[in-house]
Symmetry: C2
Subunit: 94 residues, 2 copies
Amino acid sequence: MAMSATLKAISDPMRRSILELLKKQALPAGEIAQHYPELTQATVSYHLKLLKQAGLITERREKNFIYYELNASVFEEVLTWIYGLGLGGKDDDD
Amino acid sequence: MAMSATLKAISDPMRRSILELLKKQALPAGEIAQHYPELTQATVSYHLKLLKQAGLITERREKNFIYYELNASVFEEVLTWIYGLGLGGKDDDD
DNA sequence: GAGCAATTTAGATTTATTTCTAAATAGTGG
DNA sequence: CCACTATTTAGAAATAAATCTAAATTGCTC
């Protein structure tokens, strides 16, 4: 299921932080890593891989950088699931 | 952060399934467990504990059963975060 | 309060995740 | 093609999560 990957991806604070970073603008991996001096570049690369696998980011090559950009459309499925549970959808069920 | 707990809780398919079960009606742990013959009752109890800690379910004691019921209001924070990322909320932030 | 039914807790095991260091790949520019 | 820069991959170690069995708890009911 795609939703498990999406949710697992954003259940980690570091990865949520990366997504927030990419909200403002697309960035190459190196610049992303600079925001997290406590982590190595390899670790950031690992998180990017998971985000990519979840479809939450896409990559665009330019010069010899790889720019990562947010793809929030993947959240559609999650939102549908949450709303389906009843939040905001209490129409006439009560 | 409360959001990590919420998201980690629903990143597991089993726990999402339990929430879906409780959407229809509150149920005691035993009945919940009956829906998952592949798991022991102790394991279901473990998942219920995590859901409870995340605030996604509440318990109500009646006779000698503990009825678990869904509390979808916890999703508010998650929804706010997702919308904040841009999905559906691209107003004039840039 | 003794016994019973529902549920949780403890402890151990297996599997998955996160992180690091070190090495490898891949694309760019001379 | 060679060297440089950006990034990933591999392999190992540490931490966390999911599951089981067995024992403990808790709250009715008599």
